[in-house]
Amino acid sequence: MMVAVASREIRDGDLVFVGMRLPILAYAVARNSHAPTARGLFEVGLMRDQPASGFLGTMGDPPNVAGALWATRMSNAMALMARGDVDLGFIGGAEVDRFGNLNTSYVGDPARPQVKLPGSGGGADIAILSRRWVTLMSHERRRLVERVSYVTSPGHGDGTPGWRRGRGLLGGGPVAIITTLAVLRFPEDGGEAFLASVHPGHSVEEVREHTGWELRVAEGAGETPTPTEAELAAIRRFDPEGFWTRGQSA
């Protein structure tokens, strides 16, 4: 479900900064359905049009290199993003707050953390430099929190309109949080996430219960469209053994 929904964020012609895990699948799905001229950029230093034909455990796996449009340094991929050439980025996160800020670094005091998370990777770069971005997250109260204690990848900051422009952040920030239960979206000029649609089989109440803040619901929030047959077929093709979609409904 998350993969299919994420793939719909990709517009045809987009240059997409593809992260690891589900976004790789989302890119593959989009490229094989509604976005046949999108291109994917990988921070390891690759650009592709067609998704890799073999399974990828990481973006650096050989199938992702064969047939690539460009194999280069990471700083060159970042250079494109720093100039505003990347239309959409995907970022995974451990915690996200109501303003779309992500924490993938520390739970608790950074000097003496309760939990040390892996860190930014390219997350902060995507969050700051891509034109718009989306995060994918398991919908749990401990993950969707009122305020993150550490901002690894800034979203809309303190939620005041224009916060990103004021701080000099190049890109427009997060447009959606796609979770295992729902799709949350942000107002055009930043601010607080609101519930845009609920995945089939789940309810608004269930979503609010698993969200760590008083979640606003958009007028007209309905059900997230189910994955189409084409989307499901693409998911099965690029993740035949369910390595990435294991334990999740597509």
């Binding site: 990481t58 973006m59 650096g60 290199v65 340094r73 390219g122 430099l129 701080r167 000099g168």
Partner: protein, 292 residues
Amino acid sequence: MTMAEAVARFVPDGATVAMGAGLEALIPFAAGHELIRQRRRDLELVGPISDALFDQLIGAGCVRRVTAAWLGNVSEGLGHCYRRACEHGVPRSLEVHDHSNFSISLALWAAAWNVPSLPTRTLLGSDIVRTNLDLAEADGLVHVSAVRPDVAIVHAQRADEHGRAHLWGPLGITEEAGLAAERVIVTCEQLVDAGVTLSDPNRILFPETKVVAVVHEPGGAHPSPVQGFFKRDHAFYRDYAQRSRSVEGFEGWLREWVLATPDRTTYLERIDADALRVKQPRPSAPADFGVE
């Protein structure tokens, strides 16, 4: 040169070591395991992300500081030794200099170009600037201080005995790591004649003047992938992730795969290398360097 000699001669205790600069591919695991066997201490590790190798060095007690953007196990998630070191000081406490992927690249370019820092628009608004004192915000930009490795260890597809290494596939921050470092150790799948490397000087990633050791170490990047040579061993990463969840599990893993495994040749006998080997060649079209 053997791996044991290269590590003994060129990676002293306390050294700042760049490894895994290619992100998920070409990770010099064999060199890392030799560092563990030689009980190297107080290292500072530098890299973009590290797919399990840094976690292993941390668990083995070799590391004082990590300067990196991400540390864990790319296909499996968290780095358990990293967590134990940061959260509980086990086996020892660890200093962490957090970066993003772009900023660690710039830190190395600053060192390569010998300037104190380079400016960037990334990391504006991120708490990474607040907690890593190597980063400073001024004039609407983030200034990334130079990071100068004493040595970069790089696994290459092929190299000659003079230190000319050919790498291909995505390069991550390998080039800047080599140029920023005082010296480079190259480990390689194939040791080739100079005629091969010099036939394509564009594919030589750093100058031989930087390279102090070339170690012929086939399979030296397992379980990471090597374009044209080895696929990624996903199951091996999964097994490491599961066993390293506990200190005891990690120590068992370490004994089995590093401490009781004297060298890479022995190591390779214990895996199904043949199943991972790339067998169908996909050669690049030649470039013509003709003169006359």
